[in-house]
């Protein structure tokens, strides 16, 4: 896989996802675009309801009714994923793209043993004899740092701790050697110490396998640790994207700034206070015309309420959608 490093793996273009509820169309994802290369780790950061999980589910074709992709395209290794038939989609899930979820406590089937569920993940995609599958399963358990794998294979999920179950979820996801791993808040439901262990494990595995990871989280701290690049999502759109350094040292969008200011930092002066972002997210049932962050934004201008801001390129990969970028330009021109 490493020779492919840097080649284009996933291209998402103007993806739009809506949920058709009885109350009306909820535009959960309102047109996002990004690219992901082999071996790259991208973080998607945003608060709950910002559409980050929905976006990931649409790559896997896991959107549940009444959710539907209503526009845009998803291209994986040059193939149009949205045009896949059922069979191709099944090959993709767990084969080319794997996913791990937020709640390891409920993500494993309580009535089957761990071994059964791991072996099943492999035999679904590859014709391997049972013994071979079992051996691979044991290998994977060892890889994700589970002690006494022989015994664990025979245990039921409820007999294991949350951290252990998340390790097993990771083993499940990796067993078919996918090109892309989508991790949907994999550490949110865990204790802080366990969080650190799981993050360490994922970093470690990423180094060994060089697979690409989309890391979805609401926690900027987690992103800094593991990602190469970060996209900040707000109300179904990416508002700022850049390398981890760019996002952390030169944040430009008021929302990104807000996120950073609301996060405790080790290097902060002792008198610095955490500043929460005021207000609540917009109602996605009736998304406003302008910038959805405007009502919570201290710099909001008249234009922000009328028109969605265009993308402005700040560095090679650093893009931001905010009218503040245009402010000086227009004022200068007038002057």
């Amino acid at each position: 896989m490493s020779e492919k490093n840097g080649d284009l793996l996933l291209q998402v273009e103007d993806l739009k996802v809506s949920f058709f509820t009885p109350a009306g169309e909820v535009k959960a994802v309102g047109g996002i675009s990004y690219q992901l290369h082999h071996g790259e780790v991208m973080g998607i950061v945003g608060e709950s309801g910002s559409g980050k999980s929905v976006e990931a589910y649409s790559i896997m074709g896991l959107l549940q009714s009444p959710g539907r992709v209503v526009g845009g395209s998803i291209t994986l290794s040059g193939e149009d994923v949205l045009a896949y038939d059922k069979h191709q989609m099944r090959e993709l899930r767990g084969g080319k793209v794997s996913m791990i979820f937020q709640n390891p406590m409920t993500s494993l089937n309580p009535v089957y043993t761990v071994g059964n569920q791991i072996v099943e993940a492999l035999t679904t995609h590859k014709k391997v004899p049972r013994e071979e599958a079992r051996r691979r399963g044991l290998e994977m358990l060892e890889l994700v740092g589970i002690n006494n794998p022989e015994k664990r294979m025979k245990q039921y999920p409820h007999e294991l701790s949350g951290g252990m179950r998340q390790r097993i979820m990771i083993a499940l996801a990796l067993i078919c050697e996918p090109d892309l791993l989508i991790a949907d808040e994999p550490t949110t439901a865990l204790d802080v110490t366990i969080q650190a262990q799981i993050l360490e494990l994922m970093k470690d595995i990423q180094k060994k396998t060089h697979m690409a990871i989309i890391f979805i989280t609401h926690n900027l701290g987690v992103v800094a640790d593991i990602c190469d690049r970060v996209s900040v999502m707000y109300a179904g759109r990416i508002v700022e994207t850049g390398t981890v350094d760019e996002i952390f040292y030169t944040p430009t969008h008021p929302y990104t700034l807000g996120l950073l200011r609301s996060m405790p930092r080790v290097d902060a002066e002792s008198y610095e206070r955490l500043i929460p972002i005021q207000g609540t997210p917009v109602d996605m049932l009736n998304p406003p015309e302008g910038c959805p962050f405007a009502p919570r934004c201290e710099h909001a201008m008249k234009i922000c309420l009328n028109q969605y801001p265009p993308a402005t390129q700040l560095g090679e990969g650093h893009m931001v959608n905010c009218w503040l970028m245009q402010k000086d330009q227009v004022l200068e021109k007038e002057a």
């Binding site: 840097g6 990004y34 690219q35 992901l36 909001a300």
Partner: protein, 368 residues
């Protein structure tokens, strides 16, 4: 595009419509970049319409077409049972000696003569039975009896079950433990057998009571209701409230732990106020739904007992006892069996479907 300027680690690419947007910037004036006021921000978000619990429940119920149809049918059946007997010229216990065993819409000889003489005779729409009683009138009365028993028994269950359940849930601990053991024991008693025993034994006992205490205050209601109906009420009061008690207890236990109840307590609200303001309003939805689903089960039990011959007794009738009476001549007079059976079936079905819809509407947490 990616080939023209490929960044090492990928990036957002400018797509054409965003370029268009950039050009539009030329048309923007500094006025657009003036800070917006708080008021403008307020207006920006359209507030979500908030509607009350009952309005919301009613809206959900209205959307459930099956439940609305069931409600319509129930209203029709109620009119049939409670208004019908007032309109019909025949009484349910009136025996017309000249009109025995008439088929539906058939006239007896006497009635035919009267018709020939120009009098208008109301037809026996469902015919008459072996005693010359109009079957339509009896069906109406039977429906009325079945429905009344169902509603009254359900209310009885509601009262007993909610008192027992809320006490058990609210106090918790040892009280709850003992009370729930009692419920478990009652729950494992096969209630049908006990109900049968009750109906068998209460009848002679009550008759005995009536004969010896003719002027007692209890004599009149007992005579009106009949021993079997009383037996049904007693069995509901003894055995059938356990499900309701469990539902209410579960609700109370769950609500008691809610943050807003803790908050109310922390603010110094009294137990009475907590029950009245917080627990009851939140329980009421499931109480109504459970009661509505209890009605058909009471009707079901009444008809079961009547069918086995230990239920409602002559001259009073119920749909179950009409079916039981008709079983003897069911090949010759099939309609006498089919008519009450179908009305009973439709009534029970409507109550169930409406109750289901009500539960979904009142307790949205239960709905998928």
């Amino acid at each position: 595009m990616a080939e023209l300027k490929k960044p090492p680690m990928g990036s957002l690419q400018m797509d054409s419509d965003k370029v268009d947007q950039l050009i539009e910037i030329a048309t923007l004036s500094p006025a657009d970049f003036a800070p917006s006021t708080e008021e403008e921000k307020e207006h920006f978000i359209q507030p979500q319409k908030s509607i009350g619990y009952w309005q919301d429940a009613w809206r959900r119920l209205k959307k459930n077409r099956v439940s609305m149809v069931a409600l319509g049918i129930l209203i029709l059946i109620m009119l049939f049972a409670f208004v019908g007997p007032m309109v019909l010229p025949y009484k349910y216990d009136q025996q017309i000696r000249t009109s025995l065993n008439l088929a539906p819409m058939q006239y007896s000889e006497a009635e035919q003569t009267a018709r020939a003489a120009g009098e208008s005779v109301f037809p026996h729409i469902f015919g008459t039975d072996t005693h010359g009683r109009d079957i339509l009138a009896r069906t109406m009365m039977g429906t009325r009896v079945s429905m009344s028993i169902g509603v009254m028994a359900a209310l009885l269950v509601l009262v007993i079950g909610s008192i027992y359940g809320s006490i058990s849930g609210y106090f918790g601990g040892m009280v709850d433990n003992i009370m729930m053991r009692i419920v478990e024991v009652i729950y494992s008693v096969p209630e049908v057998l006990v109900v049968l025993l009750l109906s068998i034994s209460l009848r002679p006992w009550l008759e005995n009571f009536l004969n010896t205490n003719t002027n007692s205050a209890f004599a009149q209601p007992i005579r009106v209701l009949g021993s079997s109906i009383i037996a049904i009420f007693i069995s509901f009061a003894l055995l059938y409230w356990v499900t309701m008690a469990r539902i209410i207890r579960g609700q109370v236990l769950q609500l008691k732990e809610q943050e807003y109840v803790t908050a109310a307590r922390a603010l110094g609200a009294s137990s009475g106020r907590i029950i009245k303001k917080h627990l009851l309003p939140n329980c009421i939805g499931s109480m109504i739904a459970a009661t509505c689903l209890q009605i058909p089960s009471a009707i079901f039990l009444e008809s079961f007992l009547s069918f086995l011959g230990v239920g409602v007794q002559a001259p009073l009738t119920s749909l179950g006892s009409m079916c039981s009476d008709a079983l003897g001549g069911m090949y010759t007079y099939t309609y006498r069996l089919i008519i009450p059976a179908i009305i009973l079936g439709i009534m029970l079905l409507s109550f169930n479907l409406f109750g289901d819809g009500l539960r979904d509407a009142l307790d949205p947490r239960l709905k998928k």
